[in-house]
Symmetry: C2
Subunit: 423 residues, 2 copies
């Protein structure tokens, strides 16, 4: 039809029941009727993936990864087949494709495969015949011809990868919120929907608790220059566009405050100051599949003394982390493992921060004025994260959102930076 | 291992829950440990297919057949992936394959595809590596590269087709009964488990109500010389072997009595005796997808007069049949459509019948002595079927089973045929 190609991605909640699935189908059909070539990527319905995982663990305590992929990949296929049926009823032609049929070629790392290539011949063929193409998200076929999955949230990555391969105008990610917000609206009622964010900001936001977009898909989009439009599946309003930094008109000093409340802190007391000790600890945790976030080690005051090492892990991984580390106590002579379950993290993110010092100082001051103790700190050029007690996270988010004046119509722009200097 | 190849097929009830699935896995592993190369074909779990069908009809009143196949094919994949996990836990290597990966190539008739070719390279490869191969039953890939399904019960056909392609020693069909019986044991408590039946007999039995084996798979096995062993998934006892007639030592006069109670009879009164009327009626029913079994038309006594035509249909199709035929009444000038819902069918089957007249006479006599009215009769060289009132079917089965002395250790052999002559 010559109006270009659009990739639309619908998550599990958007196809959870017959009514929602038909609504997604109607939305896809409207886009087609506007004259676009349409490729839609769907996730598994609602709790389908959880059900399949439960089935697997009922049969085996350690399900084989290759078979896990074969099992889980069925969820998205079901969504696509059902959606194609609904689209037919609305008078458009549609064809559902598995990840394999869609040409999503991955490596052989089952349950966490990486996309190596997108061989979209079959999609082009179907689009050429005027068909809407529905692609099962989250999955591909490995170079060994086995079904693979991309890990949880992988459907976003499928959508972005297809948008890149098809040269799509935009990759629309439909979700149950209207876009990306300056803070979680459940905590900050006057949080502002952002019209646009840069890839870099979005990466930091995804990494620090904003659940809207999957980190990896944002990375893929940045690397391949794919324009993401993150929007509501419930109305027609414009959502948030994720664009490269050059495209943003001006860099806001602070774009958003993100948070998470599901962190735990582990402190290893009396770690010997010998080469390799830290490496040994990190290796053990990686082998146990524990995702370590912040790591802090205080230097021993005098040589040969012992140091304390602290790090944060998702609360769900705390037990695994402790169990993995316990054998190391003897091996390395660590004095004790101390953990603090109920930790959270609050982060301020903004591309303008790069060129404007003083943001960190303001963050610390604001939290201090609220009587919130900062346990750990981590920074990047466009982000400052503070670990605080989990029950103080909402206060911290509200205080920072307010101090940086993120509600209202406009964010603070770099042209009028907020004062303060030391960092 | 050089001991030959065995194909094992497990139905939906044999993999319905985790416990049964593990039991099937253990059985597969034992066969492998005996030294065989093992290919197992699995059906979808318990009510999985019904659930998927319900999901489809919730979304669309007329689900697209291609998408229906994409949807339904997931059920068997789930079974195979889960079973592979269970087999790994038992210490054997296993790999699950979709119908497509297993090389089951079909035509493009969605929801009722026919197998065109089995390209078993990938199976041979896996067997060569010592792996147990699990193949998703009931499905294949079309020459258009789309997922197809073979129709209900198609997993039997998958198993037989693979056994043929792999040159397997035997295709074992595991089921919840110990084999094929001389009559339904629920009706005839002393029904005998048959050690062997010929393909021809099994075909007639499958077609006339014996639910153990799917008609089409028996046909495929006969055409490709595949030995079927139909046996219990609950114990190790030998079941029933389906073999070619040459292999059976001697032909029993009567092998079994089969029945069905879900028939309805439709009678079209006053069908004009014009060429094409019967063809028109049959076409209308075929287009409505109604499976017509017996058809009887009485000849008009004098030329130009009208005839009555009767046929049986599955009771579930009665309404559809009537609705399809009603427009024909005006078109052809049929006087009335009369239907009788509660009909059944009882059949006696035996390869020995071919060379021994008198069987029909005995059947009619036995039923007459029981006071059971025969409504319609159909015969083949090795089968006599009588339509009777549904509520008399159990009596008819018991009377015939007893009259032909089918219980006990031996069936009546053709060497000592039972008397009677007219037929």
């Amino acid at each position: 039809m010559g109006k270009g190609t659009v990739v639309m991605k619908f998550g599990g909640t958007s196809v959870a029941d017959a009514e929602r699935l038909k609504r997604a189908a109607a939305r896809i059909v409207r886009k087609r009727e506007e004259g676009y070539d349409v490729v839609a990527v769907l996730s598994a319905r609602g709790k389908e993936t959880d059900r399949l995982i439960a089935d697997a663990f009922e049969v085996s305590e350690t399900p084989d990864p290759r078979e896990m992929d074969m099992l889980l990949s069925t969820g998205e296929r079901i969504s696509c087949a059902l959606c194609a049926m609904a689209i037919h009823d609305l008078g458009q032609e549609a064809v559902s494709l598995t990840g394999s049929q869609a040409g999503i070629v991955t490596d052989t790392s089952h349950t966490k495969a990486r996309i190596l290539d997108v061989r979209a011949d079959r999609i082009f063929e179907a689009l050429g015949q005027g068909e809407i193409v529905l692609v099962a998200g989250f999955q591909g076929v490995s170079t060994d011809r086995d079904v693979t999955t991309l890990g949880r949230g992988g459907s976003d990555t499928t959508a972005v990868a297809l948008a890149a391969a098809l040269g799509a105008d935009v990759c629309e990610i439909y979700t149950d919120v209207p876009g990306v917000f300056s803070a979680d609206p459940r905590i900050v009622p006057d949080a502002r929907k952002l019209d646009s964010v840069s890839f870099e900001e979005m990466l930091e936001m995804s990494a620090s608790g904003a659940g809207v977009l999957q980190l990896r898909s944002v990375e893929y989009a940045r690397n391949h220059g794919v324009r993401i439009h993150c929007r509501s599946s419930f109305d027609e309003s414009t959502g948030t566009i994720v664009v490269s930094e050059q495209e943003t008109m001006e860099n806001p000093l602070i774009t958003a405050v993100t948070h998470s409340t599901g962190e735990s802190r582990v402190t290893l007391q009396g770690v010997p100051d010998t080469p390799g000790a830290a490496g040994r600890i990190a290796t053990v945790l990686a082998e146990a599949n524990v995702n370590v976030d912040m790591i802090i080690q205080n230097e021993p005051v005098t040589e040969g003394q012992r140091a304390d090492m602290s790090f944060t892990v998702p609360r769900d991984d705390l037990r695994t982390a402790r169990e993995a580390l316990e054998p190391l106590c003897d091996e390395l002579g660590i004095a004790a493992i101390v953990s603090d379950e109920a930790m959270g993290k609050v982060s301020v993110i903004g591309a303008g921060m790069k060129t404007h010092p003083g943001v960190a100082a303001k963050v610390f001051t604001v939290l201090g004025e609220e009587g919130i103790n900062i346990e750990m700190i981590a920074t990047s050029p466009i982000k400052i994260s503070c670990v605080v007690a989990a029950d103080r996270v909402p206060d911290a988010v509200r205080a920072l959102h307010s101090a940086f004046e993120l509600s209202g119509e406009d964010t603070i722009r770099v042209e009028e930076p907020f004062g303060g200097s030391a960092a």
